[in-house]
C-alpha cells in the first residue's frame, strides 16, 4: 500500500464521498426542498438538515484527507500481526454465519432452532469444548424462548 494511503487518508476520503453522495441525493431528490418560501421569509425544508450534514461531512472528510497525506505513512491502522490475521478470518466467519443465519431465518421462519444451531456454530468457531457448547447453546436458546416467545409473545416471524 502507498505510504500516503495508510493513515487517515482513506477514512477521510470515504467521509468526503459519503458527504458528496448525501448532497447530490438531497439536491436531486423529490420533495427535498432545502428552504420553503413562506409569505414572509423562508423556513428550512426536509432537505435542510441533510444538506448541512453533507456539507460538514465534506469539510471534515477533506480535513482528514489532508491529515492523512501529512502523516505520510507514519500511521498505519492495518499493521497486522500473525495472530490478528487469523483473528480476521474468525471475524469474517462470524459475519458469514450471521448472514447465513438471517437468510435461513427469512426463508424458514424457524428462529428458535436456528438460534440453537448458530450458538453451536459460534462456540465451535471459538474452539470451546463440546460439553460447554451444548450447555451454552441449550441455556441461551431456552432463555430466549421462555422470555421472548412465551413471556412476551414475540413471534419472530419475518
Amino acid at each position: 500500500m502507498k505510504k500516503s494511503l495508510k493513515g487517515d487518508f482513506i477514512p477521510g476520503l470515504v467521509g468526503l464521498i459519503f458527504g458528496l453522495a448525501v448532497v447530490i441525493l438531497t439536491l436531486t431528490g423529490n420533495d427535498m426542498a432545502i428552504l420553503i418560501a413562506k409569505r414572509r421569509g423562508s423556513v428550512p425544508g426536509p432537505g435542510f438538515f441533510p444538506i448541512v450534514c453533507g456539507a460538514l461531512m465534506i469539510l471534515f472528510g477533506l480535513a482528514l484527507v489532508i491529515r492523512g497525506l501529512r502523516q505520510n505513512g507514519t500511521v498505519n491502522y492495518f499493521d497486522m500481526t500473525d495472530e490478528m490475521k487469523s483473528n480476521a478470518k474468525i471475524a469474517l466467519l462470524v459475519l458469514s454465519g450471521l448472514i447465513v443465519f438471517m437468510i435461513l431465518w427469512k426463508l424458514t421462519n424457524y428462529f428458535i432452532p436456528l438460534v440453537f444451531v448458530f450458538a453451536i456454530y459460534l462456540n465451535l468457531l471459538f474452539k470451546r469444548s463440546w460439553l460447554f457448547t451444548i450447555i451454552f447453546s441449550v441455556v441461551l436458546t431456552a432463555f430466549i424462548y421462555f422470555l421472548f416467545v412465551r413471556g412476551f409473545s414475540v413471534t419472530f416471524k419475518v
Binding site: 427535498m32 409569505r39 453533507g54 461531512m57 480476521a88 438471517m102 459460534l122 419475518v158
Partner: protein, 495 residues
Amino acid sequence: MTAQVWASALSTVCQPLVILYLIVGVLLGICIGALPGLSATMGIALLTPITFWLPKAQGFAMMMGLWNAAIFAGGITAILINTPGTPASLTQSFDGYAMYKQGKGGLALGINTVYSFIGGIISIIMLMLFAQPIAEFTIKFGSAEYFMIALFGLSMMVAVSGGDVLKGLLLGVVGIFLSTIGIDPINGTMRFTFGSVDLGAGINFIRTAEVLHQIYTRNKEQEAAEHEQRKHNLALGRVLPPAKQTLRLLPRTGIVSLIATVIGAIPAAGGDISAVICWGNSKKFSKEGDKYGHGSEEGLAVSSAANNGVIGGAMITMLTLGLPGDSVTAILLGSLTMYGLQPGSKMFTENADFTAQVMLLMILANIAFLIIGLLTAKVTAKVLNIAQPTVWAAVSILCIVGSYCIGNSFTDVIIMLIMGVVGFFLKVYNFPTGPLVLGLLLGPTMESNMRRALTLSRGSWSYFLTQPISCVILVLVVLTFCIPLIMDARKKRKS
C-alpha cells in the same frame, strides 16, 4: 397530600403480593436492562398487557420495579462488557469498562448501584415536594427551548470524542444525518428510504461492531493474563464505595440528580440526553476531568445518578400535566387510562391515594435494586468475567433478538448487521463511536424543533434569542464551551 393519604398508601404498598410483584418487576428489569438491545421502554411495552389482569397497585408495582431497575441495570453490561444495556448507559461504558479492565469491576458495579439509587431517590423526593412548580416551569418549554436542549447535548460531542476531535465531529455529523433517514418530522416526506417502508421508522443502532472488533484485535496471551488478573482483583476487591468517597461525591451527584430531574420533566428528553449533558459538564468542571473516560469513579457516579435521576422528572410531567416525559411514561399514560384514571392535576386531588402509592412504589423499587444490586454485584461480575468468546457468542445472538424486538422488523436486523461491519472499520481506524450515537439520539429532537421554531417565527433566527428560556440555555451552551478554555488558560499562566 395529607398524612392520612400517605398512611393509607403505605399500607397498600406493604401488602405481600404488591411487594412480590415489585420484586418480580425489579428482577425482570435487571434482566431486560442488562441485555444489549433491550430497553426499559421495550420492557414496559411488553409487560403492560400482562399487568391489565392485575389490580392497579400490583400492576404498577411490577412496572415501577421494571422501569427503575432496567435503567440501573443498563450500566451492568456497560461496565462489564462495554456494551450499554440501554441508550441511557452510554456514558457509563466510558468509565465503567475502564475500571473493570483495571480490576475494579466489583467497585464499578457498586458505584453504579449506589449512585443510581441516590439519583433515583433524589428525583422521587423532588417529585413528592415540587411536582407542581417543576411541571409549571417545564410546560413553558417550546420548540426553541427543545432545540437548545438538544444543542446543549450535542455540545458534548467534543467531550466524548476521546482526544480525536476531528474524527469525533465527522462521526457526530454522520450520526445526525443517519437520524434524518425516514419520515420527515414536519412535512412527512420520506427521506433516503429508497422505497423501503421499514426504513420509514428510522435507524436503530446496536453495538455489534464491538464484537467483531474484539475478535479481530484478540491477543490470547494478554487476554488470559487479564482474565486471571480480574479474577484475582474481583476476589479481593470491594463492592461498596468507601464512605469517604461517597461523602465527597454526594454534593456533585446531588446536583446532577436535581439537573437530571428537571431534564426528565421536559417532555421527550430522556435518560440518554440527561446522562450525556451531566457527564460532559461534570468532566469540564471537575478537578479530575482528565480522568473522565479513563476509569474515573467520579465520572461513573455522575453518569449513574444522571440516568436514574430522570425517572422522577418524567413522572412529574406525566402525573401533573398528563404529558409523557419520555417514551416509558408515554406507555404508562395508556396504562393509567386503562385503569380508569385521568392523568393531570386531579391525580393529586381525586386520585391522591393512588399517586402516593406510585411514589412509594418507586422508592421501594429503588431500595429493592439497591439491595439486589449490591448483594449480586460480585456474583454478576464473576458470571460476566467469563471467557471473551462466550460473551461474543451471547452478544451476537442477543443483538439479533434485540434489534428485531425494537420494531418487530427484519430490516432493523439487516441495519444492525451493516452498522456492525461499518462500526468494525471505524474502530480499526480509531474513530470514537460516542459522537455517532450522540448524533443519532439527539438529531431528531434538534431537527424537528429547530424547524418547528423557525416555522412559528416565519424564518426568523432571532426567535431563539428572544425566547427567555431558550436564550438562557444558549448562554449556558456558550459558557460550557468558554469556561473550561478560560480555566485552562489560567492554569497555564499560573504554571
